[in-house]
């Protein structure tokens, strides 16, 4: 009882010291921040439609205040969620809030981020030509010292791999590795190592591939990224198969299958199962 009385007194005291809620700029900014936080929570729990709704609300509130930082952050978040939902047109439309607003002054980093998102959307839809153009734009905005340099080089490496230019892909991945290590972006470091592994696989260098992929796997485990762990394991399986270790390859594919199933990644699980079946001769 005494504790309850004390808590009531504290609540009244703290309430007395607090500003009363008003429909001011600060209140709208706070509402936008709340919506941004809610969106992040929904993404963490895989509720993409709810996340999109929250980010749209946060974007609307930021637009009503002409807050460039808020507009850019929420437009980019909304485009990521829409891409994960497979709604590419909506993802592009949300980026328009940044790229088609000449009257607002966005920071070069945000412009670079939006251009990179466009490149990723084009890459996803196999529009490699336009993806390259967006990537150049992202690089221009990014400048010399930029936290996105690693990601930009990694996308360039993926484009080179798609075009069959394995050496260019490896060179871009090495640049990505250097840049991401300099900025401390461990996720992009893992991506660069994976791309180096895949490039080595395409050149038929199984040992080099395994060395890179093992490092990528260790990093992805630290970061807790199941989809990438499964990608690493599949690539390690291919490296093992390339060096004639069929049992090891099957073990890697089985591990990839288990990880994808546990993560409820149906596409990843289907790919792992297909490779496992092929390895076991089914």
């Amino acid at each position: 009882m005494r504790v309850q009385v004390l808590l009531c007194v504290m609540a009244v005291g703290l309430g007395g010291c607090a500003p009363s809620p008003k429909n001011t700029t600060a209140a709208r900014q706070e509402a936008a921040l709340e919506a941004n936080r809610r969106g992040e929570n929904y993404v963490r729990h895989g509720e993409l439609e709810n996340a999109a709704r929250s980010y749209r609300e946060a974007l609307r509130l930021s637009q009503s205040l002409e807050d460039p930082e808020g507009i850019a952050a929420n437009a980019i978040n909304l485009s990521i969620v829409r891409q994960r939902q497979g709604r590419f047109a909506d993802a592009r439309a949300s980026l328009g809030a940044v790229m088609e607003q000449p009257n607002l002054r966005f920071s070069p980093l945000r412009l670079s981020e939006a251009a990179l998102r466009h490149a990723l959307l084009d890459l996803d839809e196999r529009r490699f030509g336009t993806a390259g153009k967006w990537l150049t734009q992202a690089q221009t905005h990014c400048g010399e010292r930029c936290p996105l340099a690693g990601a930009i080089h990694n996308v360039r490496a993926q484009l080179a791999l798609q075009a069959g230019r394995v050496d260019d892909a490896a060179a871009a991945a090495r640049s990505a590795l250097e840049a991401s290590r300099a900025t401390g972006e461990r996720s992009e470091t893992a991506n660069a190592l994976r791309l180096l592994g895949i490039s080595a696989l395409q050149r038929g260098e199984a040992a080099a591939a395994r060395a890179h992929l093992e490092q990528a796997l260790a990093l992805d485990r630290e970061l807790g990224a199941p989809r990438k762990i499964a990608l690493d394991l599949l690539a390690l399986g291919r490296a093992a198969a390339l060096s004639g270790e069929r049992d090891a390859a099957r073990a890697y594919y089985a591990r990839a299958l288990a990880v994808s199933e546990a993560d409820r990644d149906h596409a990843g699980a289907a790919e792992a199962r297909a490779m496992l079946d092929a390895a076991t001769g089914k």
Partner: protein
Amino acid sequence: MEQKPEEKLVAPRRFRGMRKQVNAFLFTALLGFAGLVGLVAYKQGMFVQHTQISFHAPDATGIHKGMSVRLHGVPVGAVKDVELADRGARVRLAINNHHIARVARGAQARLVREGYVGAASIQILPVSAGADRTPVAEGDEIRFLAQKGIADMLDEVRQQMTPAFMELRRAASEMSDPNSDFRRSVSSLRELIEELPGTTRDLRQLVRDTDRTMLTVGRQAEQTLAILARVGTQTEEQLPAIAGRLTTTLDSLNATATQMRETTRTNGEALRELLTQAPELVRGSGELVRDTQELTTAARRTWLLRDYIEPSQMRTLPVDSFESFGKR
């Protein structure tokens, strides 16, 4: 006694070599002073290389030259200069090159005190997720988080106390009003809860009665079957008796059905009452949740707590270059 001009002045014997001794003493003193100056300069970090960065503050009250700059509480530099600029004041910081790698471009600075009356210093806040993590370079500018002074805070408290207390008083009077939605919801809920044991008792009684009736029916059915087995021989004599027993059985079943109907009606009414009150209860709960949220938000904004809460800024999901790799 007058001295002759050709007489040569000869220094007394005890002063011979005095010049050398004085020079040696002066040289030693000079050396000591230089050493002392060097030691002080070393302690002040004069021989350490610094990188100069700056921030703009709308009001530089409390910031002065030489003030310590700290990162995680560790001194990493000092305020080099404070000068007037277009947007208020431009504060230049000299950061020790040894720590420069830990100060990112996206970092923010704010003026803090050790406690509310302790020495002031500039605190570098570590970079948050999504911000630029590359180390600062010479001439870079970081953001400054303006903090309100004690006088501003007290003024703010004075301005905001009155409406907040009035709001609280209104909420408290609403809660104490017997005719308010909240009180009526609570009363209805209590009445419903009080009725629940009676309803449960009635239900148990119904189950017991039904069980007993079924047993009776079962026994009577057995007896009836036995009677039917003998019906061929005793039809003429026993028919009236059989008819009487069947009537009793039907009466018993009828009574049970009536009791079941009555209990169901009672339960239905209780359920209807509960459903009628449910929206009211939900509304009351919603208001309680909203009030709690407002109180929490208000507490977060109080000057006692807000310094301990992470500064708010928009968060961006990480841009991942492998967002769609597995799908191709």
